[in-house]
Amino acid sequence: MSGEDCDTLDRGDNDGQKPDKMFTLKKWNAVAMWSWDVECDTCAICRVQVMDACLRCQGESKKDSYGKQDCVVVWGECNHSFHFCCMSLWVKQNNRCPLCQQEWSIQRMGK
C-alpha cells in the first residue's frame, strides 16, 4: 500500500524487451494472528479464554491498561494448559492438574 519508496529505485528498469520475469513482488504487508498453542482455549480454573487475561488480572489491570503479556499460559506435563496465575494459586492447595489429576509439573511457559 505504501510502496512509493520503491518507485524511484526501480523506475525505468523495464525497457520494452521481453522480461525474464512477468511480475516482481515489491512489498508484502503480511498480517498474522497469534494465539496460545492450546488444545482447549478456556482456562478450566477461571473459565476465561486463555487469550484474555485471567479473572484476577482483569480485575487488577483496571489500573494499567497495557501489559497483557503478564498473564501468560502454562502447560503441564499432561499437556493441559491454564493461566499461569490461576495455576500458581491452584497448586498451593493441590499439586495436581485439575483436569486429569496427574501430579502437576510444568512442561513449558508461554512467552
Binding site: 510502496g3 511480475f23 508484502w28 494472528m33 492450546v38 487469550m51 497495557y66 497483557k68
Partner: protein, 848 residues
C-alpha cells in the same frame, strides 16, 4: 479581701507578669494578707482604677486562678479563721466572676467591692428584720429601676442587705425577697404603662401622638434599670435563684426536687419556651399577621388587574417588579425573620394563584425563544422571568410544566434537525452535527435562561438521548453506526487534512453525542471494526489521535468497554517493534526475504476479524518471508501458534510485461494468482484454484476484481458459482493498459464486512441485522453475568429490585429491555443458578 485582690492585681501589673512567675509573688501575697485585711474599707481605693486593673489581668486569670485560690485560702486561713468557712467560696466566686464580665467594667466591679464590704462587716448569717430592710431596699430598687442616681455607699449597703436577707437566720428570707421584688416590679411596670398611655386611648388612630416613642423610652429605661437591678441582686441570682432553677437534665430526666413543684416547673418551662421558640410571638400576632392578610388581598387585586391589562410577558414583568418592591418594603419596616413570609404571601397571591395562566403560554414562549423569531430575545427574557417566578414554588410542582415543555421543545427540534434533508453519504456527519448543534444550542439557552438548573440540564439530557436513540418501527437505532462512521472518517488519513486540533475538537465533541447513545455495545462493535481496518491497512491519520480517542471512550465507559480496543492498539505498537527485531535478525544471519516485508502480528480474541482464515498455498515468493518470519517468531516466543490472515495481507506487484510499469496493490490470494502466470500465459481456472487451495467463495471474491480490472481475461465459467464447476480458462492479459500506473485491487472487494467478535466464530459477510443478533447474544451473556453477580452478593432479592440493579449495571454499555432481563432470569433458573424463593411470587434466591 479587696486589698488582697488589688494587691495581687498590682503585683501582676507592676511585674509584667508571665503566668509562670506566679509562684514568686504568691508567698509575698500570703505574707501581706494579715496586714492588709484589717485595713480600712472603701476610701482606701481609687475606684476608677479598679476596672482598668482588672481588665488588664483578665486574660491571665484562667492560668492564675489555681495559684490565686490557694494563696487566698491560705492567707485567709492564717488571718481570720472564724470567717473562713462562709467567706471563702464567696471571695473566690467574686474574684473569678469578676474576670468574666470584666468588659462590662463598672457593674461587676461594684459587685466585687460590695462583696468585700459585706465581708468586712459581717458575713455571718444573722437575724434580719425583713420589713425594715426591704423598706430600705425597696427605695433603692425604685431608684435603680428608675435610673435615678444612687449613691455608692447606699448601693453597697443594699448589696449587703440582699446578702443578709438571703442568708438570714433563723431561716433565709430569699423567697420572700423574691416575691416582694416581683410585686414591686409589677407595680412599677403598671405605673409605666400609665405613663405610656398618657391620655390617649389605644384605639386612637392618631399615629403622631408619640405613643411609640413613649413606649420605646419606657422600655429602654426599664430594661436598663432591670439590668442594674440584676447586679444588685446578684447574690440572690447566684446563690438562691440558681438553685431553684431546673436544669436541663432535670427537665429531661426529672428529679426529686422538681417533682414536688410541678406548677413551678411548668411556669419556668413556659417562660423558656416563650423565649426560645417564639421570641417574636407578640410581633407576629400584632403586626405581621394583619400585615400579611392585608397584603394578600392587595396582591390578589393587583395580580388580577395586571392580568386584565396585558399579556403574560407584561404580567410577569410587573409581578417581578412588585416582588422586588415588596421585599424592599419588608426590609425597611418588618423584622428580618418575616421576609420569607412576606415573599411567600406575595408569591401565593401573584404566582401560585395564577399558575394556569402562567403555564398556558409556556410552549409558545419556548418555541419563539428557540426559533428565529423576531422576538426571540424578548421571549428569552420572558422565560427567565417565568423561571424566577416559578422556582420558589418548585416544591408544589410549579416548574414541572416548564421542564416538560423544555424537554418537548428540545426533542421536537432534535427530530426536525435529524429529519432535515441531507446527502445519504453524509448521513454520519449530518447526524453528529445535528446532535451537536442541538445540544450546544439548548445547553446555552438553558444555562442562560434557567441558570443551568439541574432539572433543565436533565430535561435536555433526556431529550437528547431520546433523539439520538430514536428509531423507526422495527428497526434499531442507527446512532451507533453513524457515530462510529463519523469517528472513522475523522481518524482516517484524508487528502484534505484538517488541522489536528480541529480533529481533536471534533472527536471530543463526538463523545458528547456518544454519551447519549443507548446501544454503546453496538457502537463499540462498529468502532472496533473500523479501528481494525484503520490499523491493519495503516489508514490512521495519527496514532496519537487514535489513542486519545480510545482514552476518551474509556473515560466515558470504563476499562471493560475499551479493553479490546486497547489491546488492538498495543498489538500495532508491539508489531512495529517486532518488525525492527526481525529485520535485525535477518541482518545478523545474512538472510533476506527478497521483498519488502512488513508484518503485523495480532492477538487472537481482540480483533473483530471473523474467522475467515482462508487456506492458501502461497507461492514461493511469499512463502520464503513467511517461513523466515515463522522461524524467527517461534524462537522469540514460546507456546504460540501463528496463523496467516491472507485476506488481510496485501502485496504490491509490478508488471514487467507491459510497456508501462504498473503498480498493482492486491490481496495475497490475488498476488498469488497473478504470480501463477509467471510461467504460463493461460491456465484452467480449476487448476489454479486447486494450486492455491482456495475455497469456492474466496476464489470468486478475489478473482472478480482481477477480471474487472482487465488484468486477466476469462473464458467460460471461471468463478465456479453454482455447482462449483469452473471449467473456464484464465489468461493473462498481456496488453493490459490503464490510465493510472497504480492499480488498487484490494478495495474492489476487500472483505471488510467480516463480522463477529473475537476470533473463531462467525464468518461470511455480516449485515446490520446480524450485527444486532450478535449484540443480543453478547447482551444476554452480560445480563446473566450481572444477575449472577448481584444475586451472589445479595442472596435473596425481589424481582423489581433485581431488575433495577441489573439496569443500572448495564447502563454503561446498553439499555436492556425488561423482557430480556426476564428471559435471562428464566435461563438462570433453568441452569439452577437461581430459584424462586419458597412461598413468594416475586423473590429470587441464589443457589450456591
Amino acid at each position: 479581701m479587696k486589698s488582697i485582690t488589688l494587691l495581687f492585681v498590682y503585683c501582676v501589673l507592676s511585674q509584667h507578669i508571665n503566668p509562670l512567675s506566679a509562684g514568686v509573688y504568691v508567698p509575698s501575697l500570703a505574707a501581706a494578707a494579715p496586714l492588709v485585711l484589717p485595713a480600712p474599707p472603701p476610701t482606701y481605693f481609687d475606684d476608677a482604677c479598679v476596672p482598668a486593673a482588672l481588665q488588664a489581668v483578665a486574660p491571665l486569670l484562667p492560668t492564675l486562678a489555681p495559684a490565686l485560690a490557694t494563696t487566698i485560702s491560705t492567707s485567709i486561713a492564717a488571718a481570720l479563721p472564724p470567717l473562713l468557712e462562709s467567706a471563702l467560696p464567696l471571695v473566690l466566686t467574686s474574684v473569678l466572676t469578676a474576670a468574666g464580665p470584666l468588659l462590662e467594667a463598672a457593674a461587676p466591679c461594684c459587685n466585687c467591692i460590695c462583696i468585700q464590704y459585706s465581708l468586712m462587716m459581717s458575713l455571718k448569717p444573722r437575724n434580719v428584720d425583713f420589713q425594715e430592710t426591704w423598706a430600705n431596699l425597696k427605695e433603692t430598687v425604685a431608684g435603680v429601676v428608675g435610673l435615678r442616681s444612687v449613691e455608692r455607699s447606699v448601693w453597697n449597703t443594699r448589696f449587703s442587705d440582699v446578702y443578709a436577707l438571703c442568708v438570714a437566720q433563723p431561716e433565709p428570707l430569699a423567697d420572700k425577697l423574691y416575691d416582694e421584688t416581683r410585686n414591686f416590679l409589677e407595680e412599677h411596670v403598671s405605673g409605666l404603662l400609665q405613663r405610656v398611655k398618657s391620655n390617649t386611648s389605644l384605639e386612637s388612630t392618631d399615629y403622631t401622638d408619640g405613643l411609640l416613642s413613649r413606649y420605646v423610652s419606657a422600655w429602654r429605661e426599664y430594661s436598663q434599670g432591670v439590668a442594674y437591678l440584676n447586679s444588685l441582686y446578684s447574690y440572690l441570682n447566684l446563690q438562691h435563684v440558681k438553685r431553684q432553677k431546673v436544669s436541663d437534665a432535670e427537665i429531661i430526666y426529672g428529679s426529686a426536687a422538681t417533682v414536688s413543684c410541678a406548677e413551678h416547673d411548668a411556669r419556668q418551662l413556659e417562660v423558656r419556651n416563650f423565649r426560645v421558640r417564639s421570641p417574636l410571638a407578640l410581633y407576629q400576632q400584632l403586626v405581621l399577621e394583619p400585615y400579611l392578610s392585608a397584603a394578600a388581598s392587595h396582591h390578589a387585586r393587583f395580580a388580577a388587574a395586571l392580568l386584565q391589562q396585558g399579556d403574560i410577558s407584561h404580567y410577569m414583568k410587573h409581578v417581578l417588579e412588585g416582588l422586588e418592591k415588596e421585599i424592599s418594603l419588608g426590609h425597611r419596616f418588618l423584622h428580618l425573620s418575616s421576609l420569607e413570609a412576606v415573599r411567600g404571601c406575595y408569591e401565593r397571591a401573584a404566582v401560585a394563584a395564577h399558575l394556569p395562566a402562567l403555564h398556558a403560554d409556556i410552549e409558545r414562549l419556548l418555541r419563539e425563544a428557540c426559533e428565529d423569531h423576531p422576538h426571540a430575545e424578548q421571549r428569552r427574557n420572558d422565560l427567565r422571568r417565568m423561571y424566577t417566578l416559578l422556582k420558589p414554588l418548585s416544591g408544589q410542582g410549579a416548574l414541572k410544566p416548564l421542564i416538560e415543555a423544555a424537554h418537548a421543545q428540545a426533542a421536537r427540534e432534535g427530530h426536525a434537525l435529524l429529519d432535515a434533508k441531507h446527502n445519504k453519504d453524509e448521513a454520519h456527519t449530518h447526524f453528529v452535527n445535528a446532535m451537536l448543534s442541538l445540544h450546544g444550542k439548548y445547553s446555552k439557552l438553558f444555562a442562560e435562561v434557567f441558570g443551568g438548573a439541574q432539572a433543565f440540564v436533565g430535561a435536555l439530557d433526556k431529550a437528547c438521548s431520546a433523539v439520538v436513540n430514536s428509531r423507526g418501527a422495527n428497526e434499531s437505532s442507527r446512532a451507533p453506526e453513524l457515530l462510529a462512521r463519523y469517528c472513522d472518517c475523522l481518524l482516517r488519513k484524508r487528502s484534505s487534512a484538517g488541522s489536528d486540533t480541529d480533529t481533536d475538537d471534533k472527536l471530543a465533541a463526538a463523545i458528547v453525542v456518544f454519551k447519549y447513545v443507548d446501544d454503546k455495545d453496538v457502537f463499540q462493535k462498529y468502532y472496533a471494526r473500523a479501528l481494525a481496518r484503520r490499523l491493519i491497512h495503516q489508514l490512521s491519520a495519527s496514532m496519537e489521535q487514535e489513542e486519545a480517542m480510545i482514552n476518551r471512550l474509556k473515560a466515558a465507559c470504563g476499562y471493560e468497554f475499551t479493553n479490546k480496543l486497547h489491546r488492538m492498539f498495543t498489538d500495532v505498537a508491539v508489531s512495529a517493534d517486532l518488525n525492527a527485531k526481525f529485520q535485525q535478525h535477518l541482518r545478523d544471519n545474512n538472510l533476506s526475504t527478497n521483498t519488502g516485508f512488513f508484518i503485523q502480528v495480532l492477538q487472537a480474541g481482540a480483533w473483530p476479524l471473523g474467522g475467515a482464515m482462508a487456506p492458501l498455498a502461497p507461492p514461493l515468493q511469499l512463502e520464503r518471508p513467511a517461513r523466515l518470519f515463522e522461524q524467527f517468531y517461534r524462537a522469540s516466543f514460546s507456546g504460540r501458534r501463528l496463523a496467516w490472515l491472507h485476506h488481510l495481507c496485501t502485496g504490491e506487484l509490478r508488471t514487467r510485461y507491459t510497456p508501462r510499469v504498473y503498480h498493482l496493490a492486491a490481496t495475497t490470494p490475488q498476488c498469488a494468482l497473478l504470480l501463477c502466470f509467471e510461467t504460463v500465459d493461460s491456465a484452467p481456472a480449476k487448476e489454479l484454484r486447486d494450486t492455491l487451495q482456495l475455497n469456492n467463495e474466496t476464489w470468486g471474491r478475489h478473482l472478480k476484481p482481477l477480471i474487472e480490472a482487465g488484468l486477466l481475461t476469462a473464458e467460460g465459467d471461471v468463478e465456479g458459482e453454482g455447482e462449483g464447476q469452473c471449467e473456464g480458462t484464465l489468461t493473462l492479459n498481456l496488453n493490459f493498459s490503464c490510465k493510472r500506473t497504480k492499480v488498487r485491487l484490494t478495495c474492489a472487494n476487500a472483505p471488510n464486512q467480516q463480522g463477529g467478535s473475537g476470533g473463531g466464530s462467525g464468518s461470511g459477510s455480516v449485515n446490520e441485522g446480524n450485527e444486532c443478533v450478535h449484540c443480543d447474544d453478547d447482551r444476554k451473556m452480560y445480563l446473566q453475568a450481572a444477575i449472577v453477580r448481584i444475586m451472589k452478593q445479595r442472596k435473596v432479592l425481589r424481582h423489581t429490585e433485581l431488575i433495577q440493579e441489573v439496569v443500572s449495571q448495564a447502563r454503561s454499555s446498553f439499555a436492556p429491555s425488561v423482557a430480556m432481563i426476564k428471559k435471562c432470569i428464566e435461563a438462570l433458573i433453568d441452569k439452577q443458578y437461581l430459584e424462586r424463593a419458597v412461598g413468594t411470587l416475586d423473590t429470587y434466591s441464589y443457589l450456591a
